[in-house]
Amino acid sequence: MNLHEYQAKDILRRFGVTTPQGEVVTTPEAAREAATKFGGPVMVKAQVHVGGRGKAGGVKFCTTADEAYEKASNILGMSIKGLTVTKVLIAPAADIVSEAYVGIIVDRARKKPVFMVSAAGGIDIEEVAATTPEKIRYHAVDVRYGLMPFEALELGFFLYQDAKLARAAAKVMQQLYAAFMATGCSLAEINPLVVTPAGDVVALDGKMVVDDNELERRADLEALRDVESENPAEVDARNHNLTFIKLDGNVGCIVNGAGLAMATMDLVKYYGGEPANFLDIGGSSNPEKVVNALRLITADPNVKAILFNIFGGITRTDDVANGIVTAIKSNPLKVPLIIRLTGTNEEIAMQILKQNGLSASSDMDEAVKEAVRLAAAASGGTAA
């Protein structure tokens, strides 16, 4: 789960990191008020869960409160990579001597949280990695010991020659690490970490991604979720324990298991079709889940055929069959339905489908081909 910049900064501040106290507003008027209150020049920053908001025009520097009003008017309501901006952060602009990058991420290969720090901050860290990799230092943290003072200081000295700044940066590393661990993050970043003319080390931007698996046991983290700023269909899916990602194709896919779901989508593509979505109904099946899955898929007008691919292991295929029957009874489908079922209780499932005038294949390849064919035909048909 992505946190907004202002949320990440609130957390960092709680762990002792110095970061300008901004204000989140939803109207241009409030933006003007906040800017007036802060006095000096301010930044107006879109709070959306996408990268590259600066390049998209979602971050603006303003010298006056009126300018803040004007920029906020432009940014609020703007769409960045498909997401509408409903909040902007107004924060005092800071004078800057230098900009550094400090981030932590859980690394699959090392099985540890890994720090990435670079004195070349402010810009995209990917670019630094690509062009001047020697400017990035990595440090894997042994979670059994935590980030030790000497390790933090080594990172501090990598950023700054000056011992006072190095010590201040070391402190920020430890605060960031503490925040990262306490917040159950998979990523936490300060970019840029700046030195002010007064010699203070300050976090001008903050980014945190919380591990979704933490949310079940951490109501405090779940409370940080900003449902408004997410794709409504994906929110809907999550609320029904489905994993759903919207794509641009016309073959709606409902599969159990992420690997099989991806393989199904790949096979759609292989046969010349385009998947309309990724949708994993997960392991333990119940008819309700299937009903919700169908509702999500059919809400997409691009979908011209619906493909079920269910390999029953824990998932009982009769549950899936019942779900399908229930769903189409109350809400008849307007597009062709192709069902592939095999595994646990397959015979019962086939029986249920048959009794309700539906048929199913037990062969994945056949089913996918058929779905692609029907979607193409339907698209051709409706286009006529």
Binding site: D107, S186, L187, E214, R217, G257, L260, A263, D266, G312
Partner: protein
Amino acid sequence: MSVFIDQDTKLVVQGITGRDGSFHTKQMMQYGTQVVAGVTPGKGGQSFEDTVPIFNTVSEAVQASGANTAVIYVPPPYAADAIMEAAASGVSLVVCITEGVPVLDMTRVYAFVKERGVRLLGPNCPGLISPGQSKVGIIPGRICTPGPVGVVSRSGTLTYEVVYQLTSAGIGQTSCVGIGGDPINGTNFIDCLEAFERDPATKAIAMMGEIGGTDEQEAAEYVRDKMKKPVVGFIAGQTAPPGRRMGHAGAIISGSAGTAAEKIESFEQCGIGVAKRPMDFVELIKARLPKT
């Protein structure tokens, strides 16, 4: 022959009285797995299905039953503790089925099990099966049949699909191992490839990978440098939208974006047969098995 489990596997089930635990314990017992003990704190002294003794702690269970393998069906917030309890109890293999274990928990768990030289499979994995001998986890027993192919996969149902195809085509398996798709897991592709290479009964290996991370690329290099047995691979996720999981910083650290194209290329460069569709495994494996 097989890898990791066989007819001598003696299993303790953590969470044996839970919904998933009890269901799958019955399945495993039906398949022939020696389930020698169960653990549910507070139910020590009772028994499961009138035959399997239940204990309050894993260490008691292992001492009393001689279990050498543990399988975990406990809810995600308790899974990390359950893995460490198993690893400290004296078993040599721990299989964690639980999905949704927080990744920071796993950073601790990984260090803990490695220190003890215990093999962890999972979390968030379907477990493993050595057809005809033993099954630990949730892989449906009836889709498997004994034979010469080692199967290793990051995903659950995709594994079933491939195994089902192999079995339908009359190609059996030594062992099918689901390593799980979480960012931090206990056993990776290379661990399994190594074991299959050493297992005399395994003549060819089917490997199912996914987008994300660089495990498949490292496995491919391992195949090229260290293995004599033929390997056929598949990567799921060619059509998956990029950047949904780890973002950019992860790609920088691993030195790769972990795309399907990259992984398939690395398979090709390392002499791994590439299955374009799950069903292609049948022909590719058949061509690589020694003629009998």
